[in-house]
Amino acid sequence: MSDVKLSIPVTRTLAQKLWDAHVVRSAEGEPDLLFVDLHLVHEVTSPQAFEGLRLAGRHVRRPDLTVATMDHNVPTRGGVRAADELSRKQMEVLAENCRREGIPLHQIGSRRQGIVHIIGPELGLTQPGMLIVCGDSHTSTHGAFGALAFGIGTSEVELVLATQCLPQKRQGDLAVEVSGELGIGVTAKDIALGLIGRTGTSAGQGHLAEYRGPTIRSLSMEGRMTVCNMSIEWGAKAGMVAPDETTFAYLEGRPNAPRGAAWEAALDYWRSLTSDEGASFDDVISVDAAALEPHVTWGTTPAQVVPVTGRVPSPHSETDERALRYMDLRPGTALADIAIDRVFIGSCTNARLEDLRAAASVIQGRRVHPKVRAMVVPGSTSVKRAAEDEGLDVVFKAAGFEWRNAGCSMCLGMNPDILAPGERCASTSNRNFEGRQGSGGRTHLMSPPMAAAAAITGHLVDVREIM
């Protein structure tokens, strides 16, 4: 440890501070060995890791720093019985692994089950200053709290289960500076989509990104989670926001948040988690939020995106041409002229209470277009309950939306919620890859109010026109 401290520079970025605080061991020519404060586990990327442990006669080092949930393949209606045999098997295997290793599990049907990146914050398990990993690429969501959080593969899941540590090579630092006031109908999702449209799909590779500036400060925790969630879509290893009063207000009183003197001690530390004045970044990307419009993807990567007021662009590459063919779109078509078949409001990007409220406010008193099938999949069972407590379910159902149980659902289509080939979907999720929501399905990514507006009109539409 002492060697590490000597090498710490005077001014550091938030990411460097978080990194340094987790170094167990550092040696020349080797990656740093980092300690993991929280390991989130789900049914799809963990079975082979547990099996590896079992075959080697190893056990989970810190089940008390590990939490599991079922989210990726759970049916959103009909309970576990509605799952296919292989999905059911994966859920059973997770339950058995958790039982054997003493890992707390929020299984399907339980009060706190939900998408792994939604329940962590909800339970107060996600806190500033922590290092959080999960076998899922959207783990960057937790960075919204000023945590260092990133996705890992199954071999790394096994390593963390066994040792609670992860060898990691130091990463570069990027700053995304967002200023200017978001216009009406423009959301955190549009900050993310607008940014990715500019940077492309891989600009962040090998870097930890800090989102900063007045616009980020003015976002709720939900909005910050949406922005951090999509960091991986422009290639960043992690995305984060320095904690502030908004973060502390969100956390205070949550089940696993510190209390009393511990809360005060934690606050003292958390307030130090900002990039120092003069800390240097490898690059700074500036975003003018005031100039942003609601964004919609037209292609098969999140970077193939334009403002909803725009048109399908002319292809600039073979990748673009391929995307146009897959999406069955012609260059020059106004986005507002593209009819849709399905609407999905859900996912770890946009299925928190604030997202459902924003969608419901557009839908209130209106009907889903007769040619559209629309569904809401709350991000967690707690979000579902809270939404029902304030009557949002009534708004959605009265409009003709299906109101489902929590899970990843049609974001990746591992459960029965999938698009049929050729169907076109307005979706609040994070990936529009070919076949992502169902083989042959076509996905347009957008914010919850934009998806709600599309549900009503039956085509892609600027939500500001109907607000």
Binding site: Q48, M130, I232, T301, T319, F433, E434, S439
Partner: protein, 195 residues
């Protein structure tokens, strides 16, 4: 893991950028609980549409995949390198890889080798013209070479040692148990434990 030192064989070209892990192994095949058996489902949707490059007779049995930039972007599923390995690939050469995919590949013993765009283009053109061209990916010498070309590549030195030695990274970390225990003892008391 078996040590990986050199891969020799024929190449198959996948001349596309941003090939995501949803294409490499679609989600319906992530429901297995084993680490093997994914080969038949590699690029399932693309192969189902017919005339996919990997199914052309001249590229059957290739052991090195040559691909476009940002290969393996998207989901963290390690099933993607498992599927490539099960299909018969032992190395992938591309101008860049998504970070998680590269990590997962190296853990699986699948060599993810980064070469400059122009060199990848040369290999792509070469194999498109003559599918029988042989390539050697030499991790010991950090070279990709064959008849008329010889390219050096960089790779994380630690990952390289792990591959060359076929080392168990869990056992390596376990050797630092006393450091881990010392770290655990000084963690702040307010940090959450899961109940």
């Amino acid at each position: 893991m078996e040590p990986v030192k050199r891969v020799s064989g024929r190449m198959a070209p996948l001349d596309l950028a941003d090939v995501d892990t949803d294409q490499i192994i679609p989600k319906q095949f992530l429901k297995r609980i084993e680490r093997t058996g994914y080969g038949p489902f590699l690029f399932y949707d693309w192969r189902a549409r017919g005339n996919f490059v990997l199914d052309r007779p001249e590229y059957r049995g290739a052991s090195v995949l040559v691909a476009g930039a940002n290969f393996g972007c998207g989901s963290s599923r390690e099933h993607a390198p498992w599927a490539l390995r099960d299909f018969g690939f032992k190395a992938i050469i591309a101008p860049s890889f998504a970070d998680i995919f590269r990590n997962n590949s190296l853990k699986t013993g699948l060599l993810a080798v980064t070469l400059p765009e122009s060199q990848v283009r040369h290999l792509m053109d070469l194999v498109a013209e003559d599918p029988s061209v042989e390539v050697n990916v030499d991790l010991v010498a950090r070279r990709v070479h064959g008849d008329g070309f010889d390219y050096r590549f960089e790779i994380d030195p630690f990952a390289r040692e792990m591959l060359l030695g076929g080392l168990d990274d869990i056992a390596l970390v376990e050797r630092h148990d006393s450091d881990i225990t010392a770290y655990e003892k000084q963690r702040a008391e307010w940090l959450p434990t899961v109940k």
